[in-house]
Symmetry: C2
Subunit: 287 residues, 2 copies
């Protein structure tokens, strides 16, 4: 079996039912074992072992993450300057311990959402955290707002045994990866996959199959990985989105994934679901 | 093959690339074939044939839906009172022509989003439609906001050949349907399925498989349909969410789907993806 995507896994017990009981959350905050996320440069801080760093709670931690083998875990909004470019965080992902990755994703996505939702989109008034930090309520119109999760399709397209990959302008030299795009209102996953592949590469696809999913906390996406069959090989590349797109053979993908020095391209990093999709394809589990 | 979910399908050509070219959208607005959605009670109006009703564009239609076999289609925000309870619209879904359902979903979801996003969540200032209505931009801080699509998992759980279904308090008498819940930040689809089934019914599941997806414009969800294997049959029902939950045999589900008068429950309506999931299971394509 190919590995699970990075950031996947059950994470901790979110204990959702407690969010509606502020007295119980307050009691957990007073629990001597309770700890809160430490932040560094706008992301959860990691120790040298790649594990999340925790500190004792200090008063009014507004975000209740859940119960970690009985330990109450809280989060706050990070202080200081927040990198606006999510790629600033990618360097640390190579260090992050896989077991802590789901909680890292939850804490960072939730913080990213709170940072940009201090005001009510309905009436413009200030909002305050509610439900242990899993919503915000407007002080004026009482509208309740919930954290966003943006579904994104990310997909491989196959034709005659070859796989379509593309490169975005900001990628490191030589890297090719799966094409991707946001699911829009009124679309299925399958329709979004077909639309994005046509828009970005000019191909028409059939037989869209779901493969795996991954939370992606930059700022708060749900990556939905799929594979589809292209009806042809001719490409019309959208140069506003992509530097290039090309078909690669299975041998080329295998060489890239094994880190072969002579590989024809640099594969996506281990923490990207695009790599998991390529591993599925090479292993034959995506057919 | 079981049918596709209602609201599924490619819909019209969204012509996304034009959204970044306001001059071209304005030219399409002046096209003599251009038409705009008619609204009735907060939803797109239907004719007696169940088709969407269109009117000529009147000046400043801010939302560009796309090209419908070359015909430019626009939308506005609906006037008048908007039903706050989405179930007010369910009656009309039985009339809606399946071919028009994807466009109905796109227009209604987009309108639902604009209605609640007149102000910037970052700074509280007014926002204006941008990109042909596919974003809103803040007049003050220039933050750009994109339409929300909220991913929801909706799932069947199987144990010893029986299927778990539940009923929400607002269902009509006798109806049972698939359990469902929002995907949260930091979760995979598979983790959300497992969490929701444990929270609402107290069961632990393995082997979560994706089946189908559906846009759901009340207000703007992406329903992600799945099936999982339960490790046991004992239920702990969350009575704040559900009136009841029960295991049903395949014969019971078959009888319900065929409208058998002696069926032990009323199945979900044809426009709900829960029904599609049950059809998959009965057809054996969900194994």
């Amino acid at each position: 079996m190919p590995p699970e995507p990075f950031f996947a896994g059950p994470g901790i017990d979110r204990a959702d039912a407690l969010r509606a009981r502020p007295d119980e959350v307050a009691a957990l905050l007073g629990n001597e074992r309770a700890t809160a996320v430490m932040w560094s440069d706008g992301a959860p801080a990691l120790g040298i072992d790649g594990r999340l760093q925790w500190q004792s709670v200090a008063g009014d931690e507004p975000l209740f993450l859940g119960l970690d083998n009985g330990v109450p875990r809280f989060s706050t909004l990070p202080d200081g300057t927040v990198p606006t470019d999510s790629r600033a965080h990618f360097g640390m992902l190579g260090q992050l311990a896989p077991d802590d990755a789901p909680l890292f994703a939850a804490a960072l996505s939730l913080a990213n959402w709170h940072r940009r939702h201090g005001f009510c989109s309905v009436c413009g008034s200030p909002t305050d955290p509610n439900r242990g930090g899993w919503s915000r309520e407007c002080r004026s119109c009482s509208a309740e707002h919930y954290p966003r999760v943006d579904p994104v399709v990310i997909m491989l397209a196959e034709h005659n045994g070859r796989m379509l990959l593309g490169r975005q302008p900001q990628y490191p030299p030589g890297r090719y990866s799966a094409l991707a795009g946001f699911v829009e209102p009124g679309e299925t996953i399958e329709a979004a996959v077909a639309r994005e592949l046509f828009e970005e590469a000019g191909i028409r696809v059939t037989n869209v199959r779901y493969l795996a999913s991954q939370p992606w906390p930059f700022p708060s996406s749900l990556m939905i990985g799929a594979i589809a069959d292209s009806t042809g090989a001719a490409l019309v590349i959208d140069r506003t989105e992509l530097d290039d797109a090309r078909w690669f053979t299975r041998d080329e993908v295998k060489a890239a994934l094994t880190g072969d020095g002579g590989a024809s391209f640099l594969p996506p990093p281990r923490f990207a679901i695009a790599r998991t999709l390529l591993e599925h394809w090479v292993a034959g589990s995506a057919s």
